[in-house]
Symmetry: C2
Subunit: 434 residues, 2 copies
């Protein structure tokens, strides 16, 4: 069992080398997958519906003859919602309401200002016209993922949100469809894989081209998204999920152990790390892990993840813990401490910070309000949680007055001349009188 | 000469097919470049300084022995600034001041709110720690590009801005270095190509790793940036520059012709398109092109660009022109019209809108204030001008109160159970009392 979870000490001579090795993760590319995706993208791009139907029938063992056979009517979503237990339906709706309330605060507004000479400058913020939402089929089909991707798009004002979700062997996930009903997804196609990404990116006779594709997927989907980037926008291609818990030794070691498990149960590559100032508390967490692990339905995955990529790390003090956290730039950071809020300002890089013993990551995953799509693999150094801003875009507004052109024209012309761009210079000078 | 610039009419039966073909542009990938970049990235990653020095000496014909030989001291930047004419220095400073004033309005601030039960939610906005700015050497070395990339980073609060600029044969561009002095670039290394991108992305013994790399470059630089994306952030890889002019037939046809030239003079792949409701005015613009072209120093480039990718298009009315503009989603859109401001609301997709006859694109390129790094190749459908927001990142703040955990815990647990994630569910239930 998990007796093999690493135990490190920041005083170890090779600590930072060991830590860096533990954090290192290269997704790499699989040539077989890349080649298959190339073929699928080309086929969908050139033959459209025909290719989408053929791949879908082949990979998902269906018997569709038209794209219409692969589109779910609104009633199918409403039925899925009605089929849930009251508790599930209410939980989904409450979660959606809270996520929407939080994301409403992210909406950017247009602004402008007028200068003394009448020149008007500004930034126009508009929603994307049409967005595609990829939802995996099978085991990794998460209704919470539908909420977290669809709600920011809708709050941004995206006019048409198109969901694609494969139904291998015809099997539908009622929770996923119910989440689509609640969030007001406009159309749902039961297609998946690289063929679904291609259909959304290029458009087909029956499936409209979108402007951006978001949502998680397997290696084929990730490869296809990378390849169509440019033709459409994409969200970040996510790596394995991560949690970093900083503990001052206060609180219940069972809670910490279970929080580490919650990350580890995602998959064997997920990463759960504890930084703790108290060696005795680390022993107690270790004991909790040993006691609790056999009780977990997904104990094999948790065990493999903790052994492969987990660590319990003794640190000297909380300042050092924060410095290490900034180096790791974790997707999820739990400050499992008594005076946790006092340490928030020390954290420069994290996708989300969970402050204090009550703020367990699972609340953030489902219903606290903030998005659960967060930057992984140290990318919190330069990127942000998925948000409304990912579904809005900006256009610069430049309305130079006649008077403005008189003093801006010569500046532009001098700089354009310096760059050897004479048509730039002359077009600016045309606007300068006499 | 340019008698071969296309003249189209939106009433032509095949108009939209012709337009789409004209807009189509695939940058493609060159295997030779990809392989060379792979080797360079690997070499810099494994041997650091040694590889950077070796490639720089080889490609830029230098004789450096240490990275220190390739770093410019602050005095070199100040001397470059002092070496400019008064007119150039003042133009650069005035442009920088205006760009800074505009970008200050883009700065996002942290926010938070507290719910009735004491649960605190928010979004913490922080600048990136360290950013790399790539500046090309040689012909395409534009001081305005230094302003447009460096100023938003500095306004965002980036602590360290590192510029790389190759100096082939030791030749330095005084305007570029002066722009670095004015914008407060922190360090400058005279390195370029894929080796410079690699040094910034991975860090070497002497060059610190950055969190994001921005700025234009040749095919090697673009390939290297794409490859290191994930390890660091990057800005968009730009396509050829584009202008779309919508004209109602008012104004001076020479101005319109010169505005089309200003785009076309960038390179042969640049795209200049006019949409005009007035056939006579199109004839006059055509005549202006013929008259003015022979007077332009870069007439060969302009001519090739107009013939390859330009068009003068007769449209039925301004509504149709706006609809076509939204299809094109141009990088630069000039509304060369009498009541231009009334049409702004019809435009959904454009990098920047220049409103009215006085608002020539060249003013926006240098000194109006908004950024000149804009989305190309129809990506204005889903992306934005470079801005302060590209140098800030967000962290979600989740501080659930004990009371909050009592009602959020059960919601999260129900949803986690529905997704088969029992550790998530249990970690939430631990926080629910009784």
């Amino acid at each position: 069992m998990s007796e093999q979870i690493r135990r490190l000490d920041s005083r170890d001579g090779d600590f930072f080398a060991t830590l860096d090795a533990l954090l290192a993760f290269e997704s790499g590319t699989d040539e077989k997958i890349e080649n298959a995706v190339t073929d699928i993208l080309n086929a969908v791009r050139t033959t459209g519906d025909v290719a989408v139907i053929e791949y879908t029938n082949r990979f998902d063992r269906l018997d569709a003859r038209h794209i219409a056979d692969l589109e779910l009517p609104r009633e199918a979503l409403d039925e899925a919602l009605a089929s849930l237990s009251d508790a599930q339906r209410q939980a989904l709706q409450l979660a959606a309401d809270r996520v929407e309330a939080y994301h409403r605060r992210q909406r950017a507004e247009s602004w402008e200002y007028t200068e003394a000479d009448g020149t008007r400058l500004g930034q126009i913020v508009t929603p994307l016209d049409r967005v595609g939402l990829y939802v995996p089929g099978g085991r990794a089909a998460y209704p919470s993922s539908v909420l977290m991707n669809a709600i920011p798009a809708k709050v941004a004002g995206v006019k048409e949100l198109i969901m694609v979700v494969p139904t291998p062997g015809g099997e539908r996930n009622a929770l996923v469809l119910a989440a689509a009903a609640i969030t007001g997804v406009d159309r749902v196609f039961t297609i998946g894989g690289a063929q679904a990404v291609a259909a959304l990116a290029y458009g087909t006779q029956s499936i409209p081209q979108v402007d951006k594709i978001v949502g998680p997927g397997n290696a084929y989907v990730a490869s296809a998204k990378r390849r169509v980037f440019g033709t459409v926008g994409i969200d970040m291609v996510a790596g394995p999920s991560e949690v970093l818990v900083i503990s001052d030794g206060s609180g219940d070691p069972d809670w910490v152990a279970m929080d580490l498990f919650a990350q580890a149960e995602h998959d064997e590559l997920a990463q759960s790390i504890l930084l703790c100032t108290d060696a005795d508390f680390i022993d107690r967490v270790y004991a909790s892990i040993e006691t609790l692990l056999p009780t977990m339905p997904r104990q094999d995955t948790i065990d493999a993840s903790l052994r492969n990529r987990g660590a319990l790390i003794k640190v000297n003090d909380l300042d050092e813990a924060c410095a290490i956290a900034n180096r790791i730039a974790p997707e999820h950071l739990e400050l499992s401490m008594e005076q946790a809020e006092e340490w928030i300002g020390k954290i420069r890089h994290a996708g989300a910070i969970f402050v204090g013993h009550w703020s367990v990551e699972a609340l953030g995953d489902y219903c606290a309000g903030p998005n659960h799509v967060l930057p992984t693999m140290r990318s919190a150094r330069f990127s942000s949680p998925l948000g409304v801003y990912d579904f809005q875009k900006r256009t610069s507004l430049i309305q130079v007055s006649e008077a403005g052109a008189q003093h801006l024209g010569p500046i532009a012309a001098i700089l354009a001349d310096g760059e050897g761009l004479q048509a730039h210079a002359r077009s600016a000078r045309y606007r300068v009188k006499g």
